[in-house]
Structure formats: structure tokens, C-alpha cells
Symmetry: C2
Subunit: 159 residues, 2 copies
């Protein structure tokens, strides 16, 4: 993909930005003690494992839907993961899938609308920004869980 005109952000840099965030979230998953990843929460919120289920159900599947123009409802994986190592494996699979699907997006595609999960009809750029923001949002919650567990979270700048 060749960028000819000046861009606010290029597709290449937006992918690096997204994957940088995903790397930080992966580090956060690693910091959780096995038990707390699946059991700890505050104020009736989801555990970080459950939040990660959501993140995994969005990123690669949503981008796949966009690229293939296939509208599928939001669904979390039916396979129940019971170890953190399984989550990290799924995370890495998604990282590679995202890199592959991303190559199929042209600059023009970002302003096309896509009905994400059959529910959110917005330009693709807004869908992508949502994937990132939603992850940063939930990861911020994970930072509080770690602090409450007296564990030093990774530096926000570390990507």
C-alpha cells in the first residue's frame, strides 16, 4: 500500500499504534497472578479474563468481518479458556491475523461504512478507533485491579 498524499496518519502507522496497545495489554495479562486473572474484580465488574474475552471477540474477528464485508453478530469464543497461557496464545494468533487482514485495507476503505456486528453502522476508521479505545478503556480498569492487588502495572508508555 503506497501513500501518495500527506496523511494525518498512514494505515501503516495506525497499525503500529494499535499493535503497540495490544502489546501493552498482553504485558498486563502477564502481570496478573493466574488465580486473580480469573477471579479478581472490583464493584461487580468483569474479571480481567472476561474483559480479555471481549477484546479477543472484537479485534481480529471484527477486522476480518470488515475486510471480507461479512456482517456477523458479536460472539465471544465458545471454547472456555482456563489458563492465562491459553489467553496469551489466542492473543498472539489475533496479532498475526490483524497484521494479515490489515494489508487488505486501502486508504479509501477507511471512510466506507461498515455495520459492525450488525449493530454499529459507522465508517471503518471509527470502527478501528473503537477497537483501540475500548481496549485502552478496559486495560485502564485492569491497571486498577493490579494496583488493588498491590502489583506494579507496566508503564503506560511501554509498547
Amino acid at each position: 500500500m503506497k501513500t501518495l498524499a500527506a496523511q494525518v496518519i498512514t494505515p501503516e502507522d495506525l497499525l503500529i499504534h494499535w499493535q503497540g496497545h495490544r502489546k501493552l495489554t498482553r504485558n498486563l495479562i502477564e502481570k496478573f497472578p493466574e488465580k486473580d486473572f480469573f477471579e479478581f474484580s472490583i464493584g461487580g465488574m468483569r474479571t480481567f479474563a472476561q474483559l480479555t474475552d471481549e477484546l479477543l471477540a472484537i479485534a481480529a474477528p471484527a477486522l476480518k468481518g470488515i475486510v471480507n464485508k461479512e456482517i456477523k453478530p458479536y460472539t465471544e469464543a465458545s471454547e472456555k479458556l482456563i489458563f492465562k497461557a491459553q489467553y496469551l496464545e489466542k492473543w498472539d494468533e489475533a496479532t498475526a491475523e490483524i497484521n494479515e487482514y490489515w494489508k487488505q485495507l486501502s486508504i479509501e476503505d477507511f471512510s466506507e461504512t461498515f455495520n459492525l456486528f450488525g449493530q454499529y453502522e459507522f465508517p471503518i476508521i471509527q470502527n478501528v478507533l473503537y477497537f483501540i479505545d475500548n481496549e485502552v478503556h478496559h486495560r485502564g480498569q485492569g491497571y486498577v485491579y493490579l494496583r488493588a492487588l498491590n502489583i506494579e502495572p507496566p508503564f503506560f508508555w511501554e509498547r
Copy 2:
């Protein structure tokens, strides 16, 4: 500012995106009981008032620095705010300032580097994405504070 070539995201849409997040953060500040805004925290973290001090010290001052090419160290306001209403007033002032400064950025500017606070030398687009991500990150923490206080936070989609 006229966009001639296809853009992944236009400056206009990136501003709307940023201000949409700022609107949601403003809603979050409003949801906090006066006392808890200044006193509640989890795991030794900053209160939401202190986190808001940081957000206010970044957004408009940082964008002003970028536009005026003035490198100033990061500093939080010396004036101590003691009411939530004062924070909301500062928030709205920053909203208007951001809109004004934003008009002075051209598409070409976003790929220029700027040494933010004399510490973070990155392309301007990365500085701007940092302002947004950092706010989403801390606001996600505010969501946990509200949940821990048994208060329903605003819907993440509401901007």
C-alpha cells in the same frame, strides 16, 4: 482546511473523535459525588480530581505548545481547585481552546515531530493520539472508582 486526497482520518474527524472522548470524561466527572471526586481512590492511586489535573495539564496546554512551537515542561495548574464545578469550568475552557488551536494545524503538520514537554520527541499525530489514549486510560480507571462507589457510569458509547 480542505482535504483533497483520501485520508485514513481527516483532521476534522480526529477533532470530533477527541472532543467526543472529552465529553464522555466530562460526564464522568459529573457523576462523581463531590467528596469522592476529591477523596476516593483504590490501591494508592490518584483521586479522580488528581487524574483530571493531569488531563487538564495535557490537552489544551500541549496543543497550544504544538501550534506555537513552544516547548514547555509539563506542569499542573498552580491554582488549587476545590469544587467539581471549577473543574468543569476549566474543562469547558479547554474544549474551546482545543477547537481554536486545532484550526491552525495542517495535514502536513501531523507528521512533523514535536518535543512534547521537552521530553517526548514524536510526530504530532502520536502526541495527539497520546492525549486521547491517556485520557481513555485514566477515565477507564474512573469507571472502576464509580463502580466501587456503586454508581452507574455513563455508557462508553455516549459521546
